[in-house]
């Protein structure tokens, strides 16, 4: 499989796994991309367009996640404080 195709697959699967918070799958994907990075295989310049699209989409999802998680952590901390105060 071409490296650009592999990269796109990993990014797509990462977005899917993140959507369902599938931690096991995300760990497996992390191992796959670490191996890919360690192989030192170069991504052909002409095949990088789709991969960049997928990376950009994953980036948006991650930013969205970060905002939500920050809000949830604040909410959770506030409720814990309230509970202890009672």
């Amino acid at each position: 499989m071409a490296i650009d195709r592999t990269l796109v697959d990993i990014l797509e699967e990462t977005a899917d796994a993140l959507s369902t918070f599938d931690f096991g799958k995300l760990n497996a994907l992390e191992q796959r991309i670490v191996l890919l990075a360690e192989s030192n295989t170069k991504v052909p310049r002409d095949g990088i367009g789709v991969a960049l699209q997928r990376k950009r989409q994953l980036e948006i999802i991650l930013k969205n996640c970060q905002i939500n998680l920050d809000a949830l952590n604040r909410l959770h901390a506030r409720n814990m404080r309230n509970q202890w105060a009672q």
Binding site: F23, E30, C65, H76
Partner: protein, 465 residues
Amino acid sequence: MGTIASLMDIAQQALRANQEALNVTGNNVANQNTAGYTRQVVSFQTVDAVTLSGSTYGSGVTASATSQRDRVLEQQVQQQIQSQAQSGALESALQQIENVFGLSSTTSSASSTVLGTAIDSFFSSLSTLASNPSDTATRQSVLTAANTLAAAFNSSSNQLTQVSTSLNQQVIGDVSQVNSLTKTIASLNTQITALSPNADAGALEDQRQQAIAQLSKLVGLDQISTENNGITLTTSNGAVLVSGNQSFALSTTPVGGTTHILAGGQDVTSNLTGGDLGGVLQARDQQLPGYQSALDNLAFAVGTQVNQQNALGVDGNGSPGAALFSLPATSSDAAALIQVATADPNAVAAAATGQGSAGNTNASALANLASANIVNGQTASGFLASFFGRIGSDTAAAITNNSAQQATLTQLTTQRDSLSGVSLDQEASNLTQYQRAYQAASQVFNIANSIMASAINLGVQTTVT
């Protein structure tokens, strides 16, 4: 591999699913202390893939939130609320009755109560009179003890009437709350049917369940699920309270000194069970009349027997004895109406006929009534002890029953809350799971970034932003 457009679709679906999951957790955490809130969980569904010209497109994901509700368990909780509210109301009413007679867990005997002391003191004063029948002060103390006894009967009877009046007011208050809640439930039925006829209506459903739970505290209910996610509610005896978007108000009317409940013009008082109303009606219509009647019997028997014995003797003026107590013709209301008929100390007929006014035989006979079986085959003190024993055992049984009902309710509520309630621990665990997933995905992103940076820069490591 799909096209760029299909990839965008997948990404959008993923974003929405992710957002929904986080929103649900946020909502759960924010509503942790909201009464009646049912925890929501996210379920993910993979969108069916489409194959065109040998290529497969679309493998996105959608998320939907569903409330963790067990309708059977909800109904069990509501029925238990009805049973507990009834036993609680009965216990409360019986404790009020115990208070009327000064009964408590520390009361050692009937003779230590106000009424018991008054009976004992009255017969004791007659014994003293038998020892000194000519003494005016001793005669006066008999009248004083008689007045104290009559006042104790009057006061106990009046207080029982006040308990009944208070229970009547409770009925009126409960009915008013029932009508307000049934109106709310009918309105929620309308909204739920319009917005979510085939699925759980989330927050609206929570509000309806909470209104039904509040209604269950007031009256026994039967609940029937109808089409389009509607609910019909009837009282335990079948009177319709809510049907679809319509509510049917209960009303009250006074009948013979008690407040009766009408549904659609029909008197449903005698058949209502469950909830606060069930307990109040049980106390008012079943327990209280029995206690009032026993008190009346005691007052009537003591008054009648004393009057009859007094009539057999000769008073301090040398005349035949007259009635010491004025009483109604029958025992009905005797405790409320008993009065001492005279203010003349000489009216007590201490002497027997032929003894002269200084005799004491009839005073002894009057005193001996204390040990005579004058009320339902028992002495006055014995009857009072049995009567108080009955109130005590009824109250103790009500307390025991209420404790058991409360324990069952707690158990069912815990069971329901473990399913439907928000646990901060659970939500914290969800948050951790999300956090870890986010970190793992970030790691994938960072490595992909490095790989692509190498490609774009022909092997020179840099960062693509």
